[in-house]
């Protein structure tokens, strides 16, 4: 016990007690007590505040406070000063209660000696101090604890305390959410993960629904409530891991892109051009290895061909923040310089300002561009649209023709993407994608396309090719020719082809074409009509199957010769020949042949006209011609023959060589007869002339007929006698009067009589009979001559027809024809009946009433 001065406040109302106490305290050896008395509580409290005291000694019973109240009030007023209560009587309950309330101790007055009191006070102070300290410590501890708990509670990290045997002793809210489990579910359950003091590890926490959390766990060994345990703090690093993964992947990607970019990528420091990183493309192009370059300066390596270029580039960079597609020359390891297209931006790596540049070697492209620029003039004269694009289909060239075709000026096209200027119309969706795929893989595309711009549509023949080669593509060149015209022409041609096809088909003439093998390749309806074969059964067959056997060789020769001629040609002839119909008959045709080149081959086309009708008409004409010339010949003969007799006999008589009167009579009669004959002939000729020109006329008059008949027949008696042919006539005495043209009627009678006698042989007979029958006059001349064959019967009354072929007994063939005209002009009929070898009967009728006929014989004399 040290020498201490303890200041005591004594609150005692009892003076005696107070004094006593003070004397006792003054006796104390070890401790010096300084006592401040107070008579009542209020006084005491007053004195409390005045000074600092180390202890309060207070009587319980005070004038202004009793018992425990005193305790309470004092404690209240001086919580930091220990209180010892005095009690006058031995009432432990109150004293105990006082201590319970907060007093340090109690003393019973009269029961203690000084030393006891001293000790008690001293210890009360000590106790109080210790208590105070304890309280403070405890406060501090609980504060610390509270803080710790706060830390634990609020800690983002999960904190778990795990006992040595792996039981979870403590978990904080963060741990709850990490493990997605409630505290009470986890407490005192085994910790599933290995813990080792001082170790950091990663654990995969699998959650009930399959989610996984990755956590980083730091474990330390601690003492927990007296026992060694582990404190594990866990952090959810799932996101971090994912981010790390993503970053790693992107780093890989970037690295790959960087490494393998076909463009050269270089990172250099701004300040001095030190190479920080280069990619493979750079090393390949320049020839330097990475080692040779990284860490070295650009000017060391003399990479910039022109020293000032770099500075110029940096200036651009600083001014605009980036460099965009500048062209600079660079020197390769070999010393050769190449032209690069240079783009760059600034980046910071670490603390260093760096430039990342992307460059493309455009040396070749430049050369190509130069070449292209050279041929720009050529471009202009090309009549095709020429468009060039880079590899991304951005237009770099657009010539004048393109302007015309697409209606887009070069200034509006260059720089834009091709697809944005020209729409290539698809026939079906996806066609353009296919086109571009083809283009990419083949490097070449040629087809007809329909292009649409805002100015309209145009059909073009398009050819797209890569610029460049040897695996390096610099772009595309597109050549297009507007074929709208051609397309329209094709359409027109197709339509006109159809027209021609129509024409060929509907032509009446046969159109047959054959190829070089002489096989039929075209066969129109006209040919079908003429020859009978249908198109499908004749196509491909040899054309010579149409020629009759005897003409086959000649036909082949003609065709072969025509094919051999160079170039197109015609056979220059229209040939008449016969062709074999399907039914085997031969049809006369007119053929004209021509040879033409159609597409790649030669064809011979024959145009065939059926000339059957023409041939028949020609034949008829020929016959008529023949008849006419025979007629003329005969006329000549018929004229000369009577002239012979007339002249001859007249001469004989005049020359006196006919002394005999009877002979003279005979000769004169012959002369007379022959003259008449001559006259008749001449009249016939005149009649024919009139009939042909429509001037033939009959004049009917009412006449006694008998005389006409008798007179006409009379003249033939002598001829009949001469020919030794008997002549009989049967004419009735009484005949009605009929309106007739007597002259013409006579002509007919004479004609019939003359024929009858002419065609009778010596010893034959001729009969002329006239009768009235059925209101008609019927005249018949019958002879027993050679007769007329059936074939001749139908032609008897035709013009120029002579019953016997080949120079019969004279006659012009006109007689019967004219007779027919005359009789029919009277309204009558004329006909013949005959039997070969037996004789003929020629008959005619005349209507008695004089009606009928047309009076002028003007009929169709070609009947």
């Amino acid at each position: 016990m040290e020498e201490r001065d303890i200041k005591v406040l004594l609150i005692e109302d009892n003076q005696d007690d107070a004094e006593l106490l003070q004397r006792k305290l003054a006796k104390s050896v070890n401790v010096h007590f300084t006592v401040t008395p107070a008579k009542c509580l209020q006084d005491g409290l007053k004195k409390l505040s005045a000074n600092s005291h180390d202890l309060i000694l207070s009587d319980l019973g005070l004038p202004d406070s009793h018992g425990l109240d005193t305790v309470t009030q004092v404690l209240q007023m001086a919580p930091d000063i220990p209180l010892v209560v005095l009690s006058g009587y031995d009432d432990e309950n109150v004293a105990i209660k006082a201590v319970q309330l907060g007093a340090q101790d109690y003393l019973v007055k009269g029961q203690m000696d000084g030393t006891q009191m001293e000790r008690s006070l001293f210890y009360a102070i000590e106790r109080f101090r210790l208590q105070r300290e304890l309280e403070q410590h405890t406060e501090e501890i609980s504060k610390i604890q509270a803080n710790l708990l706060k830390i634990l509670d609020k800690n983002a990290d999960a904190i778990i305390v795990v006992s040595k045997d792996k039981q979870i002793l403590f978990i904080n809210p963060a741990a709850e959410s990490l493990f997605k489990c409630q505290k009470k579910a986890l407490l005192n359950t085994p910790f599933k993960y290995p813990v080792e003091g001082g170790k950091t590890s990663e654990i995969d926490i699998k959650h009930p629904h399959g989610e996984k959390t990755i956590a980083e766990m730091r474990v330390v060994g601690i003492d927990w409530e007296g026992t060694p345990a582990y404190l594990a703090s866990l952090r959810d690093i799932t996101e971090r891991r994912q981010t790390e993964k993503a970053l790693r992947e992107s780093e890989e990607k970037f690295s790959k892109a960087f490494r393998s970019s076909p463009d050269m990528i270089v990172i250099t420091a701004v300040k001095d051009g030190t190479f920080v990183e280069v990619n493979d493309s750079f090393t390949e192009t320049t020839g330097y290895t990475r080692k040779e370059v990284i860490g070295r300066r650009a000017d060391e390596l003399k990479i910039w061909a022109n020293k000032d270029d770099r500075l110029r580039m940096i200036k651009l960079l600083k001014e605009y923040g980036k460099v965009c597609q500048e062209e600079y020359e660079f020197r390769m390891k070999s010393g050769k310089t190449r032209l690069w297209l240079f783009s760059a931006e600034q980046i910071n790596i670490g603390n260093e300002e760096c430039i990342i540049s992307i460059t493309i070697d455009i040396t070749e492209r430049k050369e190509t561009e130069e070449a292209l620029r050279f041929s720009d003039a050529a471009f202009k004269s090309i009549h095709e649209s020429v468009i060039a694009t880079d590899t991304n289909y951005a237009i770099t060239h657009w010539n004048e023709i393109s302007e015309q075709i697409y209606g887009v000026k070069a200034s509006q096209a260059i720089g834009k993407k091709l697809q944005n200027v020209i729409e290539i119309v698809e026939k079906y969706p996806g066609e353009n994608q296919e086109r571009f795929n083809n283009l990419d893989s083949n490097g070449y595309l040629h087809e007809e396309q329909l292009h649409r711009t805002k100015h309209g549509e145009v059909w073009v023949d398009v050819s797209i090719q890569t610029i460049g080669g040897n695996d390096k593509r610099y772009g595309w060149v597109i050549l297009a020719t507007a074929i709208t015209q051609r397309k329209l022409a094709e359409e027109a041609l197709k339509r006109s082809e159809e027209k021609y096809r129509e024409l060929i088909n509907t032509s009446i003439d046969g159109i047959i074409s054959m190829d070089q093998n002489m096989r039929i390749i075209i066969w129109n309806q006209g040919a079908e009509k003429i020859l009978g074969y249908k198109e499908k059964e004749i196509l491909g067959k040899p054309v010579v199957m149409l020629t009759p056997e005897k003409n086959k060789k000649k036909a082949e020769d003609t065709l072969t010769k025509l094919f051999k001629i160079n170039g197109n040609g015609d056979s220059n002839r229209i040939t008449e020949t016969g062709l074999l119909r399907k039914n085997g008959t031969v049809v006369p045709v007119e053929i004209s042949l021509s040879k033409r080149k159609v597409e790649e081959n030669y064809l011979i086309t024959g145009i065939i006209r059926d000339i059957t009708e023409r041939k028949e008409a020609e034949e008829k004409l020929r016959q008529i011609d023949k008849m006419k010339s025979e007629f003329l010949s005969n006329v000549s003969h018929e004229l000369r023959t009577p002239l012979q007799s007339i002249g001859g006999f007249a001469k004989l008589i005049l020359e006196g060589k006919v002394p005999d009167a009877e002979t003279q009579e005979e000769f004169l009669q012959i002369i007379d007869r022959e003259s008449q004959q001559l006259g008749i002939l001449i009249n016939s000729l005149l009649d024919m002339s009139r009939l042909e020109s429509g001037r033939f006329q009959i004049n009917k008059r009412l006449l006694p007929l008998r005389d006409t008949f008798i007179d006409s027949i009379k003249i033939f008696h002598s001829l009949a006698r001469d020919k030794d042919v008997s002549l009989d006539e049967d004419i009735p005495e009484i005949l009605p009067e009929v309106e007739v043209d007597a002259e013409r009627l006579r002509q007919v009678i004479v004609n019939l009589m003359s024929n009858a006698i002419k065609f009778s042989d010596p010893g034959g007979s001729v009969t002329a009979k006239l009768e009235t029958r059925n209101g008609e006059l019927l005249f018949q001349v019958k002879d027993g001559g050679i007769g007329i064959d059936k074939k001749a019967m139908s032609h008897l009354f035709e013009r120029f027809y002579r019953a016997e072929d080949k120079l019969a007994r004279g006659g012009t063939g006109l007689g019967l024809f004219i007779s027919k005209q005359i009789i029919e002009a009277h309204g009558g009929r004329i006909w013949a009946e005959s039997k070969l070898g037996e004789g003929s009967t020629f008959s005619f009728t005349l209507p008695l009433n004089g009606k009928g006929g047309n009076g002028n014989g003007k009929k169709d004399i070609n009947n």
Binding site: H637, R640, S645, K651, L652, R809
Partner: protein, 135 residues
């Protein structure tokens, strides 16, 4: 010797004229009015000359002439064609088939006679010539 003339002619008037004219000059005249009859008479009557019309019924004069020339008996017989057919073609055909002369109608009787005489004389000479040479 009286020469015998055969006339083959179908027109009676012409036949009569020629016959009278020749008879008047002292010739003997036979006539036939058609070709077949004419050939028969030519073979059987042995005329010295034949006057042959062209336009005859059946066989025409040219045909008759040709046949006569084919028969050995009449092969050398003088034949005079007498016809109204007056074209050159007819004349040529006549000579082709072997006629010795061709007279066109109408002819004056005097002309007919003189042609006959000329033809007979020619024949005389030829025969004489032959006889002379073969003699």
């Amino acid at each position: 010797m009286v020469k015998k003339i055969l006339i083959i002619e179908d027109d009676p008037a012409t036949s009569r004229l020629v016959e009278y004219s020749l008879r008047h000059e002292g010739y003997q005249v036979l006539s036939a009015s058609n070709g077949l009859d004419g050939i028969r008479k030519a073979l059987t009557e042995a005329p010295d000359l034949i006057i042959l019309d062209v336009m005859l019924p059946g066989l025409d004069g040219f045909e008759i002439c040709h046949r006569l020339r084919s028969e050995p008996d009449t092969a050398k017989l003088p034949i005079m064609m007498f016809s109204a057919k007056a074209q050159d073609m007819d004349r040529n055909t006549g000579l082709l088939v072997g006629a010795d002369d061709y007279l066109t109608k109408p002819a004056a009787p005097a002309d007919i006679v003189s042609h006959v005489e000329a033809l007979l004389a020619k024949k005389e000479q030829a025969t004489t010539g032959q006889e002379k040479t073969s003699g």
